[in-house]
Amino acid sequence: MKNLQLTTEGKLKHFLSIDGLSKEILTEILDTAESFSSMSEKQVKKVPLLRGKTIVNLFFENSTRTRTTFELAATRLSADVLSMNIATSSTSKGESLLDTIRNLEAMHVDMFVVRHAISGAGHFIAQNTAPHISVINAGDGQHAHPTQAMLDMFTIRQHKHDFSPLKVAIIGDILHSRVARSQIQALNTLGTQEIRVIAPKTLLPSHVESLGVTAFNSIEEGLEDVDVIIMLRLQKERMTSALLPTEREYFKCFGLTEERLKFAKINAIVMHPGPINRGVEIASSIADGPQSVILQQVSNGIIIRMAIMSLTLQNNGEAV
């Protein structure tokens, strides 16, 4: 089947999921982001790459951090940005989603950045939007959050340079995590030696090993000798839906503590997509400690999104 994300020439047109993208495309994104990285420290933080373009952030799900970094990224590329927070409810159906898109299309926009609580919403919009519009998935349900995964890959590459010898552990609620799904696909595509997921069975998808990972129910075993530790945020509602007993018990079994960090390689880095729950999934001393790269992830979020926005719009038949 044709990959919806690519042009007929195989170039990135939409950015919906890591699934189906080649190592070359992922590397191109990382390299492009790197070319923007010196820019952030300059006094004038703008390039005219997307001047005259209109980008609409469509956030059907609340998010301050992701939306802000997308806005900053667009602004630094000199695009015009419109951010819309659209309260969504379980009753809002595809028709109204489609109507929203059609209305904005009529205003001649060039890109939609979409966050939505339903898996597949980004694909649906990309399939039903005018051909000159690029769609970037800023998180859909439990499916994918590919820009987050790419900023994580960028951060790992900054510290570890090469993916092939790495052992990476992802800890936490894999089942509900679009971030974890995209990270796993990106790590696999980039040739990571070993990917582990660590969680109780209630927070692992049924066929998790089919994603190309090894599953661990014990954090100590899972952390043994790893180079990269990725913590996931634990949502409070997991406690009320009989997936976990208490936050306290979760921290006891799966929280990242100084003690447990010693199982990993001595130069292992600790990552977290944020916002962090101190004392629930990670001890404060680690979040703020020397091995933590959590704040670098945030800064990298801007340049990765600049790279993805400029590449997709460039490839979508519009000379930039």
Binding site: G94, E95, L98, H116, I118, G120, R178, P205, S210
Partner: protein
Amino acid sequence: MKKILISNGHIIDPANKIDQVGSVYIAEGKILAVNEHISDFTPDLSIDAKDNIVCPGFIDLSVRLRDPGQSYKGTILSETTAAASAGVTSLCLPPDTSPVIDTQAVTELIADKAEKASYPQVYPIGALTHQLAGVELSSMFALKQAGCIAVSNATVPLTSLLVLRRAMEYASSHDLLVMYHPDIPSLSKNGCVHEGVFSTRYGLPAIPEASESIAVAQCLELAELTGCRLHFSQISSRRSAIKIQQAKKYGLKVSADVAIHQLHLTEDDIEPFNSSFHVLPPFRSKKDQKSLRENLANGAIDIICSDHQPHDIDAKLGAFPETEPGISSLETLLPLTLRLIEDNAITLNQGIAALTQNPAKTLGINSGALSLGFSADICIFDPNLSWTVNQDNWKSAGHNTPYWGQSLKGRVTHTLQAGSIIYTL
């Protein structure tokens, strides 16, 4: 009434163990003779069925006509026309119409509309509980009197085993067949795909196999307790099939059907986020599909149905989990059944029995066979004729099928209902 002679066709009538080239004589809307020469028979109409197969008309246990209540998705006229073109001469209409088939009045309204359409025989299935709400029993006796052939709660599972037990007891007091869609809602809640490799990869809300097989186990226990005649509608999992097979060996009066698309498509075939593949029960694993085919061949699963669910365009236009489940499947019933034979999963006789003799037996009706004196409900089809699923060849108002645009082999040339030709190609 017209006298009709169908000659030169390959007659397959599993109920009467006929499998040979010959002739069928029809008079007064009934079967007059099969494979014996009748002198002084001057037909008003002769059909040459050379190279075609002549068999009893198909009996489909689950066809949504969307009428009354959702005529923007389909009408009794549009969907019975589709049924006739698919060789279906009798069909069962599940009770989840709007209003629900839980009163005599609604049953009679449907019977009346169906009679006017003068197409396949429509058998309404009455609601098992009032408004399908799973709380109070429906007036089953009145429903039976009005023409309901069985009772069912459609796809709405009962949450109370006590109500299910009472419903089975009450239905069995009136000798009504209970058709049940096995599902444990607390396990399948909000799910839209099978819990497996696909749901893991795409992060979609999933339905575990156990949500069906646990319900099958519970129902089997209750069927034994209550002595009710029980039929499982649209099973999809290996463990369900095995449980039903064991129950049959043990001597329980149970039967089961499977939707034709479940025998062909699995979670591996789903095109990501393509809502034509959104169906309940969901497409399961290769292992489940293999087991469903085996259990169809060994007789644990008796019947193939279409589980026809036509939809309007808007119902399928949205992000996958938000679209409505269901496939418009009447017209792919025959070609996909023939494909099972091509795959050596079952024999042609088994395939036709699963569409004729077996559903007739489950419903307890004198149909599904070319027996002398039976209503002349007949399907004639060309097993080798290829056609494309597209606007020109499609009768149902619902175009929601994963087979849209594909080429299929096997096409109905004539459908006769009570000796009247209701469809010709």
